[in-house]
């Protein structure tokens, strides 16, 4: 009787342990840490990227991507023609004026004063300012509403793009 009960106990313990293991990611994709060689599908296998055209991917789960610690609304990745490197990462930000201003300040602190886009690498519409920063690995373009300092609310979500420079 005793051993039978012990057996039952063992079985039920086994049963209790036999739960599916959680597969939720603990990592967050930090946009500032992506390089030309980053293989995001390999680095974050638990996240679902959506294939976008022949040579691109999209990801839009705001819980798992951040730009300088700030959640972002979506990310589009373009692959280089050699099919072995990233070409461009485009990030859609949330429509939040304070976040946009903070981001501009953070990027300026990191990479110096922004310039205009002399490369033709990025595009902006008439209502927007295009600020460009450059370092050895990448060219960064932030598209903000022109009157960001005076408007109370921004109508169009700012976008941030990184174009990787071929070594």
């Amino acid at each position: 009787m005793k051993s039978c009960l012990l057996y039952c106990l063992l079985l039920s313990t086994l049963w209790a342990c036999n739960r599916p293991t959680p597969k939720k990611p603990s990592d967050i994709i930090q946009i500032d840490a992506i390089t030309r060689d980053s293989d995001l599908l390999a680095d974050y296998p638990v996240l679902h990227f959506v294939r976008n055209g022949i040579s691109g991917y999209e990801f839009n789960d705001e819980r798992y991507i951040q730009l300088l610690g700030m959640p972002v609304a979506g990310m589009t990745i373009a692959i280089d023609e050699d099919k072995l490197h990233l070409k461009r990462v485009s990030v859609a930000l949330f429509k939040n004026k304070q976040d946009a201003v903070n981001l501009k300040e953070k990027l300026t602190a990191l990479y110096g004063k922004p310039g205009a886009d002399s490369t033709g690498e990025f595009y902006a519409n008439e209502e927007n300012d295009l600020l460009v920063w450059k370092n050895q690995q990448q060219l960064m373009g932030l598209s903000l509403p022109k009157n960001i300092n005076t408007v109370t609310e921004i109508a169009e979500a700012p976008t941030f793009r990184i174009s990787f420079i071929q070594p």
Partner: protein, 449 residues
Amino acid sequence: MNKLYLGIVLLYALLMASCGHSSLTAIENIHHRQQLDSLIATLSKSQVQVDSVPVRVLVMHLKGDFTYYGQPVKELQVELKEEAIARISFQTEKGALEVLNGLESAFGTGLKEGSGPDLTWKTVEKNIIFTVTDYKGNLLTLSNKEKSYITLYFNQPANNKVTNAYTTVPATGASDNYRLEVDNSECGYRVYVNGFLALTHLRANTLGVTADINSYLQKGSKQTLMVELLPGVDFDGYPRSRLHQESVVTVAVHKWSDQSCFLPVILQFKTPNADTMIQLEPHYYKAIRASRFSGQLSATINQTFETTIQPFDLPAYATATDIRKVPDAKDRVVAHYRKLQAAYQSKDTQQLANLLFPLEQNKAMAWHLYKPTDGQAQWKSIIDLAHITDTVTLAENTSLYVTPDGRFAKLIIDGKDDPACYIEDANKVYPLDYYVSIDKNNEPHFVIE
């Protein structure tokens, strides 16, 4: 002492009950028809309302105290199609965040395609759709105050042999896939992988034609590739009789997997040009380096490439006899295609399973190519197609294309290389492009697509 043990066991029983795992009212535990039936059996007559009975479809509403990942659900809408569960949809009274956490613990992160907090999961047995309607926020602000709306689409009639077969197929790990990418100029071409006709293109000047070649790879890592240059058509669309001087085909083999966003090239080559320049026209200064095969009727170029080691040979390889030695091979193959045609025409899903399911199973088993979900989706599309089919055509003038090793053959339309058997509806043509092998008992089988 016995009382103590009894107490512990009772405590465990209580724990089990409180987890809701053994309770049938937890909707997440419904995987097939029998489980749904046992749930319905616990409900009183007034709790089950049959909504409509169109042909072969039964829609019913169930009322009761159900839960989904611990959140209360008062009503389920269940749709049965041909007596198997097709769909269950319901709304939780609250606890959208808890439901999302439950789903992600069980199935990993959901696929989010829109901007709203709507996510989907594809599992072997069902597709799960999670939505939060009338909600302005995003996933960062989602709380338990919101209601979640869940729809479960069951992939396969529960407990039928298809579902059971696919559960025996191991899920793929980090397997590599191989893909051809071909550009051509003033010529047509055929590309063969290990003797299998992988790609045919008879028109000129097309860039980036691709074909997946996994099903043509052979055991080990050494693979062969052959390009056949064909005269193709001229600028006005008329067929050429000989190879034009600008007959150049560029072939690349890419490796790809779901585990990498990059596609390394493992083989790339261009059909050769002549060593010397030729003048385009007399008295005309422009000269070009023409294709080495200019003026010939056709030409072939052989290449080899290496893949990661393929662990399996096709199961059909083991039993296939040499079709070239079967005297009435074409008749047997045609008869086999006729069976397929009849099965589609009479919407006979059982016969389709007999003919095509071994093929689907072999594909998954042999190459570990498809994830179980892909296999399920593929099989579902075959069955769905059977239900909407209007005309299945088997062309009159056909010829038998036999692979060089003689083990596989398929029916193609005379002189066109197009598959001879196809389904045609108002908008689209679906080729039924299958290779056939003939076993030792002279029985034909569909082997690879």
